[in-house]
Every structure is written in structure tokens, then in C-alpha cells.
Amino acid sequence: MSVSQALPGTHRRDMDAYRLRHGHGGGHGGHDFPTGHGEGGPAPRHVVVAYGFWIFILSDIIMFSTFFAAHAVLATATAGGPSGTVMFNPANVAWETTALLLSSFTCGLSAVATRARSLVWTEIGLLITGVLGVAFLVLECREFASFVARGASPEASAFLSSFFAVVGCHGLHVTAGLLWLGTMMAQVFVKGFRPDILRRLLCFNLFWHALDIIWVALFTIVYLIGLGR
Amino acid sequence: MHLNPARSLRPAHAAARHTSSCLLAPLRAPLFLAPLLFLSACDGILDPRGPIGNADGLIMLNSLEIMLAIVIPTLVAALIFAWWFRASNTRARYLPHFDYSGRLEVIVWAIPILVILFLGGVIWIGSHDLDPSKPITSRNQPINVQVVALDWKWLFIYPDQGIATVNQLVVPADTPIHFSLTSASVMNVFFVPQLGSMIYAMNGMVSQLWLQADRQGDYFGESAQFSGDGFSGMHFTMHAVTSADFNTWVNGVRQGRGPTLDWTGYLDLAKQSQNVQPYVYRTVDLSLFRAISTQSLPPGPGPKTGRSGEQAHPRPEG
């Protein structure tokens, strides 16, 4: 992988995430030194965008927490039907986890390629991320289908409702992420590494990694604890 | 509001208890609340007729008094400041730089904190002493009543007497009543305002409540959780009678011509109906309450198409 030598000057501000260089403060008349108390005027655009997206991710985590809390309440409400211990297939879950964690890794690699402004490697990284994401979804859909085929559908018990909802919610987020991924791949291809597209790629990366974190929590709370019950 | 002169005579046996008649209630609350109590026509929560109601009401008035001790000076001060410091009052001092005072800060934080500490004690003790499931001790044996909230009527089963009633609760006065409550369908709340606390009734669960009517009388009862179109009709009367009268009534029901309540009859009763007139069942299947609360009997059906069904009133047998 080659790192491009000459970085265009307009990108410098975006890469100076910790504002170690003076000069491009605030944007509209701000001071040159960040004080940590926001006294330097409005923060640069990429900081604002990333911060806002973090806040959004925090809110999404709270939404997932609500589903987790419901699952904690309903995990034993099997209404005489199957529980996690009999249903869950650890191997399948392990493959799903592998696929998703690997996809996070490849997403990170694509971010490195973006930093180096390599279109080809960015696209390849994103593509592999997408393929792994699709693999994750396929495994999950097959798991759902096998449960339903055995009569363990969400209408059967509160436990199953909660299981399908929390895992399905995560799956929906992955699906939306893949849609976003495809859109980003198209955008980068057509428009190149413009500042606003770089910001969006940053947000996408945050989102994809956050999904990974949620999966770790989900995998622990739903599958591991469920298997041990 | 017109007072019944007979109420000014306290029955001797009630002397040892915390009963409050309309006349005496003002003595236990600050005088300025007295007009409110008189205006209340001596009904509802401010005219309790049982130990739970008395205790609940007392705590309510006490917390009101505690709060008024702060609120009234605050409001008076606010209005005085608002009036005195109006711009047209040239006698008032203008203090344009008075925006901080350490002493005042300590006071304005301390006053609410102290009140809350005190109130916290009332809350903690009260929540435990008056928990609805806490039994009432009495020299009289408690009566058990199983309550099923239906759409849109109340079913009262007397497991020890083997009878049941709809929308009518007859109990002996001066006797603790132990209620076990569940719902046939949606959430409801069982509430007799003059006797005290209310409690949720939910399908698949059993909640517990203890109440007692100190004196004979008729007490209004209702549901305090909206449950659908027939909700307004979901009230009943609680008749507190003497022990002897209660036994007479029970025997009368057992030997009467009321229908029997079995599982089939219950399924019929569980269909939606409104404004059901009170009636009695001369016998009842004693497994019914447990079956309902554990869902051996399914929850009641809902409406057919969004409109509620017509009245269901089974005809007496025989």
C-alpha cells in the first residue's frame, strides 16, 4: 500500500484533529489556542460533525439498552417453549462474531487507506467490509429461519419476542449500515476525497465500530448468558 | 354544606380509634384548612372510615402541613418582593450588583434539604407501615375476598363463604378484609376512597390489599385505571354491615335463587359488557380465582370490531 507524499493543503485542517497547528482556528474569527473550555470559538467542522455523530451513537446505545433491559426481564419467560440453552448454536454465533469483528478490522484498514488518499484501497477495504457484513446477515437470517421452522417463532413466547427483537434490531442497523456503505462507496468513487465526504466516512466508521461494540454486548447478554441458563 | 347533626355524637366503641368525623377532622389539621374540609361535604378521602384511610389521610395532611410551612412564607415573600421592588416604588433600594450572597445560598439550599430529610423519614416509614399488603391486626377474624376485574364489572368471590357477587361488596364492619386481586383482561385499580389505599389488579398476577371499615355504611368503590369504553360504569358499592347481618346475608345468598358461577359461567361473564347491575351467585367454583390468576382460564376476550358488546346479565336459575 503506498502512502501519497504530497498532501493537498486544504486537507491539513481536517487531519489536524488535535489542532496541534495554529492558524486555522474556529472558522469564523476564533482564537488560535484551544483551551478545553470551548473558549476558542466554534470548533472546526469535522470536530463538530464527529462529536454530533458520537452523541447520536450514544442515543442509539441507549435504545439498545432498552431492548437489553427488556431481554433481562423476559429471558426466562419461555411460556413452556424452548429456551436459549436448547436453541442457540454456539458455532453459528462464533462465525457471526468472526465475520463482524473482521469487518470492523477491514473497515479500519479502509480508513487507513482513506487517510493515505488511496481510492483503490479505500474501495477494496469498504467492499470487503460489506461482504463480511452481508455474510453476518446471511448467517443471522439462516439462524432466524431455522428457529421459526422449529416453531420457535417470536409469537411463541415473550423470551422469543425479545430475542428476535434485540438481535433483529442489531441486524436492521447492520442492514442500514450496508446501505450507507454502498452509498459511500459510490460517493467516494464519483466525488473523491472531498472534506464533506471524509467527514461522512468518519461517521460511517464510527457507526460500524459501534455496531461491533453492540454485538459484543449482545453476544454476551443474549447468547452466552442464555446458553448458560 | 349541610352537616348531619347525628354525626356530632361519637359512638362509644369508636372512642379508642382514629376515626375522624367531619366535625373533628379540623382539629387534627391547621385551622385554615378547616374551610376546605367543610366544603368537601364530608366525603371521599378527607372523610376516612377505616384505619388505612385514616392513616393515609393523616400522612397526606402532615406532608401538606410540612410543605405549607415552607411554601406559605415563600409565596408571601415572593409577592412582597414583586410588589415592593416595582419600578414605580421610589422608596425601594436599587441594588443592581446584588447577585450573590454566600449566606443566602446556604439558606436556600439548606431549607429544602432539611424539609426533604424530614419528609424522607415520613415517606420511608409510611411506605412500610401502609404498604397495601401489610395485614391489619384486629381481635376479629379477617374476611377473605378475591377480586377479579373484568370488562367492565367487578367480580367478588368469597372463598370461605363459597359465594360470589358482581359489582356489590358486602363485608362486616370493624373487621379486616383481606383482598386478593387479579384482572381478567386489562389493568384495573381497585379503590374505595373512604377506606383507603388502592392497588393495581393485573392479569396473570395477584396483588394484595387490606382494608377495614370501622363503622357500618355504604362506601363508593371504583376502578382508578382507565380500562376501556365501559370504564365509567365500573363502580360498585361496598356495604359494611354488622357481623350478624353479614352472616345473615351470606346465608341468604347461599339459599337464594342466584346462579352458580363455574368455569363456563365465568367465560360468559368475561365477555365485554357495560353498566352491569349488581347481583349474586349462590355458589362459586373455588378453583376459579387461581385459574384466572394463573391463566388456566384465558384472559377475557376483547371487542369484536372496536365497539363494545351489550350488557350481559345472566338470569337466575330455578
Binding site: A158 | L39, S40, D43, L64, I111, W124, Y200, N203, G306
Partner: protein, 670 residues
């Protein structure tokens, strides 16, 4: 083809909603025709509908709020009149209809009346007070507004197409499950709130980011106006609480649509979990509403007392204290569900603890007035009215926080009177205070004082006339949501409340009249300088209305109350600060994204309600495409040349200089 939708959805057999719907429809058509014929459509489209300017969006939120407050108030009038007539009589509203009305009343008032009111005020004021040009994400801001409008639209459409929920404003299961509510009412509720909830959540993200990351140079946290602190706390609560609502309503929707068992009676569903989850959102929600109102009073009272806010730091501390503790009290909404003495005791104590924060604020406002020279303009009247009313309402709240008292007062009219006491006394009074206070900044002319004072007095007296009888009725044992009753001792109080609400109606009429009269007489009420009240915070340094860029040059903030300092210096030196070095300013372009996204959200919502699945897919795909089109833009900003910036700002400086020339002495007020 059209799912569950048939002609029977339209209530041809019910005159009241039919006539109401018909009247509203005719009014809307007339307004639209007038707009088109008069040629206002391009102006509306370019300047308002596609605007991403926080000031315009704030005004639109306020407009939505006022219209919805009126609709909710009409529902309230119907409820009071029905109860006044319904002593051992059926009244004029059968249960199926009455139940929808009280459910719509609560839903509309909270979600589409009060929320837009506080969000509208925050939208308009916060960037101006922070000394910046706009919020962090302007197009997202526009989308938030239009999604809220979508929710309001869906709820109102339910009046004439189908029905609304008949469960109360919080749809407790099992009543709200498909078994017991098979109709579309709860579905209208769910999707209207899910859609507008997305909008609200995005507002929360937007404002938290703006307040924490975008302030004028020199404005550290402890130099922010208290309104911005309360806006921050309120938006943090939005970010933390609204996801809970989204998840909970999603669970209810899964139950209703796909037969899941989150909250059903059977198969292990847990109805108590709904109550817990919904109130884990619901309690922070009321603080989301009231904290900005507290912020309004923290601006209004210092301004009209002529002194700084007393105890700035403890106000900030109290605000953050309330923000955090508001998440620890939710169980007090269902003490009677039988959790036991320990649990009830803990939550009762937590609830009374939160009263400490509010008490501190009340005292700080009082000591702001102390030593002041108070001018009783309409906003100040609302503020004093608030102090009196909110303290009483808070007191009844602390009474309800004591579980044994709540065991008798839960769900009674005492409870209803309490929460109206705090919401009307806090949020509505604060909203009207803020409306009257910032109206000249938004439109360049003040609201008519006389009609404002009339509106205050009638609303204030009307509130007590309506709700004090309801407190009494609650103490007499009357529970809420009764369509008919037969307890004689309740009747006089219900009748009294029915009369009292007519006094409030006069207040509402005065409020509308105030708007109309002010617009007609706007030239006499003109705000020439931009500082009609002798204000203390930065927004009063701009012209009225401010230019699109707010500030030609971002102000350099030295202390609290920066504008007050600027004014003092100008008066003492008898000159304005030196003219700044004007530069071109880039602003975000307007965009139809918000409006069009909301359009497709409406279609998707309607289709989900009536289970028209192909339309759902179309709506979702179209919404995604709108997003892609927006993301594909190459030109996102437009530039205002330095010369134009200079011209606009010089006009402002001229007006200020003229004011200076005629007011030579320190301390002289406008």
C-alpha cells in the same frame, strides 16, 4: 390494495368529528388558495419551507405549537363540558368518542403543543445567545421540524380517517394490545410518535453539539446564559430519554403488528415492564419541557428587574442536578402497582430530593427581583404568575411523592390538577413569557401590551378557576377519565371547573387577538434598535430581526452578560465600539430535504397505520432516495459578500448610534 383502509374509516355517522374535520379542511384549502393566488408560494417555499435558518425554524415550531395548543385546548373544553353535563346523564360524547378526545388531548398537548413550544424557543434563541451563526446541523434541524409536523398531521388526520387511540395519552397494555384495541387508533399514536420522536432526537443531538462545541470566542461554560444551560440539560435529557420511548413503542408495535409478546397477557408478556419503560422516558420528558421554561424565566426576570440573575452558579448546579436526578424517580408514577415498601420508599425519597433543585431556583429568582426595579411588562407578569403557580403545583407534587398519600390520590383528579398545575404554570406560562419576550427580536415589532396583560390575567385566573375545583374533586375520590359519573358530591366541583375553563378560553382568545392586533399595528409597535427591553444577553445586540448570519463578526465574550457590558461601555464612552473588519460570510444553502423527507415519512406512517404494505416500501425507498440526493449535493453553501455584510451591519450600528445620541446617561432604560 389499500390495506385496512375503506370508506368506513370516515365517520359519516358522527357529526362532531365530521363537521370539525370539514371545517378544518375548508380552512386549509382556503389558506392554500389564498397563498397561491396572492403569489406567496415562491416566498413561502424559498424563505420558510426550505429554510435551514434556526430563526425561521424556531418561528415555524412556535406556529405549530400555538395551533396545536388550540386544538388540544378545544379537546379540553370538550372534556370539561362533557363532564359538566354527565352527572347521571350520558352527556353529548359517547365513550368511544370521549375516550379518543382525552387521549388526543394529552398526546397533542405534550408532543405537539408543549414540545414544539420549548424547542421553538430554543431554536430561535440559543445560537443567538451563544454568539454563533446557526446550530451544528442546519439541514438536520429543518428535518427535525418537518418530522414533528408529520406527527402532528397524522394525529389530526385520525380525527377524520379512522380513529385515534382510546387508551389515554400513554397506551398501557394490555388495553393497547391488538386483543383489546383492534382498531387503528393506537397505530396512529405509535407511528405519529415514532416519526416525530426521530425529529426530536435529532434536535437533541443538534443542540447538545451546538452548545458544547460551538460558542462565541471567550464564552466558556460559566459565561453561557442560563437559558443555554437549561437548553443543554433539556437536550441531554432528550438524547438520553427519547431512545427509550422509541424502543418501547417499537415493542408495542411489534406486539400489535407481528404478534410478539412483550406486553401481552399471555405467553409470558409483562405489562408492568411497559409501565416501567414508558415512565423511564416519561419522567425525563416533563423535565425536558420545564427546564427550558425555567431558562426563559432566568432571562426574563433579570432583564425586567434591571439586575443580573442571582446565584448564577447555583442555578447551573441546580439545573444539572435536576437533569441527573430526573432519571431516578420514574416509579412515582405507579406507586400503587404494588412494588413494596422498600421500593416505594426509595423512589418517594428520590422524588422529594428533586424538589430541592427547583426550590433553589425559585429562591434565586426571588432574590433576583429583590433590590431590582421591576417593570411589569407581559413577560414579567407571566414570570411572577409562574412563581406563585409552580410553587403550589410543586407542593402538590411533593404530597403525591409520599406513597401513602399517593395510594389514595393516584389517577384521581387531584393528580390531573397537579400536573396541569406544573405544566401550565411552568411550561405554558414560560412559553408565553418567552413568546412575548423574543417576539420583537424575531419580527421587528413588539406584541401589544394591553392584550398581553389581558391574556395573562384571564389565563391565570382561569387556570385556578378550572383546576382548584378539580383538586377538591380528587380529594372527594373522583378518578380521572370518567365519561359519566353518579356521585352527587362531585357535581358542584365538576360544574365549577366547567365554568372556570371558559375563563381560560377568554385568555386564549386574548392571546390570539394579541397576535392579530399586533400585526395590524406593527408600525406603532416597531422595535427600532433591536433592544426593546434593555436586555442583558447577546441576542439583544443584533438587529430585529437579525440578519441571516446573526453576527457580522462573532462577538468576543469577556464575562457573564456580555451584551450588558458592551452597552455599559458604549454609554460610558458615548460611542460604539470600533467598526469591525468585515469579511464575506458563508452560510448553508436552503434545502427541501427536510420537507420532502417528512412528506415521505407521512406517507410511510399512514401506510403503516392502515397496513398498506406496498406504500410502506415506496415511502421508505423514496425517503432513502431523498437522503441520497441531499448527500450528492456539490454546492452546500452560499456566500454573502463583505460589502453586503458591511451594509447590513452599518444599518444596525446607525440605529444603535441614534439610540446612544438620545440616551446620554448611564442606567437610563429604553
Amino acid at each position: 390494495m389499500l390495506g385496512k383502509l375503506t370508506w368506513q374509516a370516515i365517520p359519516f355517522d358522527q357529526p362532531i368529528p365530521l363537521v370539525a374535520g370539514g371545517v378544518v379542511f375548508l380552512i386549509l384549502v382556503a389558506v392554500v388558495i389564498w397563498i397561491i393566488v396572492k403569489g406567496h408560494l415562491p416566498y413561502l417555499w424559498n424563505e420558510w419551507i426550505t429554510s435551514v435558518d434556526h430563526k425561521r425554524i424556531g418561528v415555524m415550531y412556535m406556529l405549530l405549537s400555538l395551533v396545536m395548543l388550540l386544538r388540544g385546548f378545544i379537546d379540553g373544553l370538550m372534556m370539561r363540558s362533557q363532564q359538566a353535563l354527565a352527572f347521571r346523564a350520558p352527556g353529548y360524547l359517547p365513550p368511544e368518542h370521549y375516550d379518543q378526545i382525552f387521549s388526543a388531548h394529552g398526546t397533542i398537548m405534550i408532543f405537539f403543543g408543549a414540545m414544539p413550544m420549548v424547542i421553538g424557543l430554543m431554536n430561535f434563541v440559543v445560537p443567538l445567545q451563544l454568539g454563533v451563526r446557526d446550530v451544528a446541523f442546519p439541514t438536520l434541524n429543518s428535518t427535525s421540524f418537518w418530522l414533528t409536523a408529520t406527527g402532528a398531521l397524522l394525529v389530526n388526520v385520525s380525527l377524520v380517517v379512522g380513529e385515534f387511540a382510546r387508551t389515554g395519552w400513554l397506551p398501557y397494555p394490555p388495553l393497547s394490545e391488538a386483543t383489546y384495541t383492534p382498531g387503528v387508533g393506537v397505530d396512529y399514536y405509535v407511528w405519529a410518535l415514532q416519526i416525530s420522536g426521530v425529529g426530536t432526537l435529532l434536535t437533541g443531538v443538534n443542540f447538545v453539539t451546538t452548545i458544547l462545541k460551538m460558542r462565541a470566542p471567550g464564552m466558556s461554560y460559566l459565561r453561557m446564559p442560563v437559558f443555554c444551560w437549561t437548553a443543554l440539560a433539556s437536550n441531554l435529557l432528550i438524547v438520553a430519554a427519547f431512545p427509550v420511548l422509541t424502543a418501547t413503542l417499537a415493542m408495542l408495535a411489534l406486539d400489535r403488528y407481528l404478534g410478539f409478546h412483550f406486553f401481552t397477557d399471555t405467553a409470558g408478556g409483562n405489562q408492568m415492564m411497559f409501565v416501567n419503560l414508558i415512565w423511564a422516558w416519561g419522567h425525563p420528558e416533563v423535565y425536558i419541557l420545564v427546564l427550558p421554561a425555567f431558562g426563559v424565566f432566568s432571562e426574563v426576570i433579570p432583564t425586567f428587574s434591571g439586575k443580573p440573575l442571582f446565584g448564577y452558579r447555583s442555578m447551573v448546579a441546580a439545573t444539572l442536578f435536576i437533569c441527573i436526578v430526573s432519571f431516578t424517580v420514574w416509579l412515582h408514577h405507579f406507586f400503587t402497582m404494588g412494588a413494596g415498601g422498600d421500593v416505594n420508599g426509595v423512589f418517594g425519597i428520590a422524588t422529594s430530593i428533586i424538589a430541592v433543585g427547583t426550590g433553589v431556583k425559585i429562591y434565586n429568582w426571588m432574590f433576583t427581583m429583590y433590590g431590582g426595579r421591576i417593570r411589569y411588562t407581559t413577560p414579567m407578569l407571566w414570570s411572577v404568575g409562574f412563581i406563585v403557580t409552580f410553587v403550589i403545583g410543586g407542593m402538590t407534587g411533593v404530597m403525591l411523592a409520599v406513597p401513602p398519600a399517593d395510594f389514595e390520590l393516584h389517577n384521581s383528579l387531584f393528580l390531573v390538577a397537579h400536573f396541569h398545575n406544573v405544566i401550565i404554570g411552568g411550561v405554558v406560562f414560560g412559553g408565553f413569557a418567552g413568546l412575548t419576550y423574543w417576539f420583537p427580536k424575531a419580527f421587528g415589532f413588539r406584541l401589544h401590551e394591553g392584550w398581553g396583560k389581558a391574556s395573562f390575567w384571564f389565563t391565570f385566573i382561569g387556570f385556578y378557576a378550572t383546576f382548584v375545583p378539580l383538586y377538591v374533586a380528587g380529594l372527594l375520590g373522583m378518578t380521572r377519565r370518567l365519561q359519566e359519573y353518579d356521585v352527587a358530591s362531585w357535581q358542584p366541583w365538576v360544574l365549577a371547573a366547567g365554568v372556570g375553563v371558559l375563563v381560560t378560553l377568554v385568555g386564549a382568545v386574548c392571546q390570539v387577538t394579541q397576535l392579530v392586533v399586533s400585526i395590524l399595528h406593527r408600525d406603532e409597535l416597531r422595535d427600532e434598535t433591536g433592544d426593546p427591553w434593555d436586555g442583558r444577553s447577546l441576542e439583544w445586540s443584533t438587529a430585529s430581526p437579525p440578519p441571516a448570519f446573526n453576527y457580522a463578526v462573532l462577538p468576543n465574550v469577556q464575562g457573564e452578560e456580555p451584551y450588558w457590558e458592551i452597552k455599559r461601555r458604549a454609554i460610558e464612552t458615548q460611542q460604539l465600539a470600533a467598526e469591525p473588519d468585515y469579511k464575506p460570510i458563508e452560510l448553508p444553502r436552503n434545502s427541501p430535504t427536510g420537507f420532502i423527507t417528512a412528506f415521505f415519512a407521512t406517507i410511510t406512517g399512514f401506510a403503516l397505520i392502515w397496513q398498506i404494505w406496498w406504500m410502506v416500501v415506496v415511502g421508505l425507498v423514496a425517503a432513502y432516495l431523498v437522503f441520497v440526493v441531499f448527500a450528492w449535493r456539490d454546492v452546500t453553501e452560499y456566500e454573502i459578500p463583505a460589502s453586503e455584510v458591511a451594509a447590513i451591519d452599518r444599518a444596525r450600528r446607525t440605529a444603535r448610534q441614534q439610540w446612544l445620541d438620545t440616551h446620554a446617561r448611564v442606567g437610563e432604560q429604553v
